[in-house]
């Protein structure tokens, strides 16, 4: 364990860390947002884990559904029990590849990218292509993305009584600041 911490410190402090191994963020931010006539629905998670492979541009995101927090306890309850069925499908996962990836992207200022991969939510897997940014921000490697998903596509049934109150599409926002991770 000490060795790992030591390697991590070594990598963080070393100048020439780019272009080798993997990058990790353990407290990546994911939110989804839907504006409704009654009130805005916003779920935020600060505990997503993401790994970026600097060799091939593969990127993985994973989050535990119950780590999404809402303003109202009732919303959180409905989200977990009625919609996401978090006990049955505890995690969401995205595994994708950055289009036209090159290692130079990790050293340059943030630029627009496209990522294609499989998003697995509520036990349903879909291939999606999403826009995003990747590059240095304040000297750290950061990635962001904003895209829309439709709950029904992932087999999430929303009762007709509240269907009109929840937007057809949910806007998903992703933000991660990476640290190099020794293998």
């Amino acid at each position: 364990m000490l060795k790992k911490v030591f390697i991590l410190i070594l990598l963080v402090t070393s100048v020439n860390v780019f272009g080798q191994g993997k990058f990790i963020a353990k407290n990546a931010f994911i939110s989804f947002y839907s504006s409704t006539p009654m009130e805005d629905i916003l779920g935020e998670c600060n505990e997503a884990v993401t790994i970026l492979d600097s060799e091939n541009g593969e990127i993985i995101f994973q989050s535990i559904m119950t780590t999404f927090h809402f303003k109202r306890a009732l919303m959180e309850e409905h989200f977990n029990e009625n919609y996401m069925e978090s006990a049955k499908f505890p995690k969401a996962k995205f595994k994708g590849k950055i289009e036209g990836f090159s290692k130079d992207m990790l050293k340059a200022p943030a630029a627009n990218i496209k990522i294609t991969g499989q998003l697995n939510v509520h036990g349903v897997e879909k291939t999606i292509t999403v826009p995003g940014t990747l590059g240095l921000e304040d000297g750290k490697l950061a990635a962001t993305s904003k895209f829309k998903v439709t709950p029904e596509e992932y087999g999430i049934a929303i009762p007709s009584l509240v269907r009109d109150k929840i937007g057809k599409e949910m806007e998903v926002t992703v933000k991660a600041t990476y640290l190099p991770f020794g293998q």
Binding site: N27, N46, A73, E76
Partner: protein, 142 residues
Amino acid sequence: MKIKYAIILVLVLIVVGAGIGLKMFFKPHADISKLDAEYKVEATAIMDEFQKDENAATLKYSEKPIEINGKLVAKNKLPNGTDLLVLENEMEGISCQLDSNWAAANPQVIQALETGSQVTVKGVCKGFLMEIKVSPAVVVSK
């Protein structure tokens, strides 16, 4: 006269019903500092449990208030201001996000925490994702 009473009764029922409905709608989040821990464990012991059988450990601990005692290895602040305590292992240990209300009321407790020392944290276990996630959590003073 009977109709009058019936109307009053219906009105009372409506008011009570609406009251219960509103109370449910505005129900606050559970206050973790007031919940009793269902399990009291050593950090290394619960890490072993998740390492050995993630599914069984998830079933046992997920969404339950637990109290964990372990070595504090990192104390950070997330971009959104949340205080984060990491126990035992920076990469694969136990990550505890402190309850924002509790943290705002107890800044001196957080301030006094030193990495390398033992700390006891009570929080809701969220399961395992590279590390054990606990949130929201509070520091238990001994």
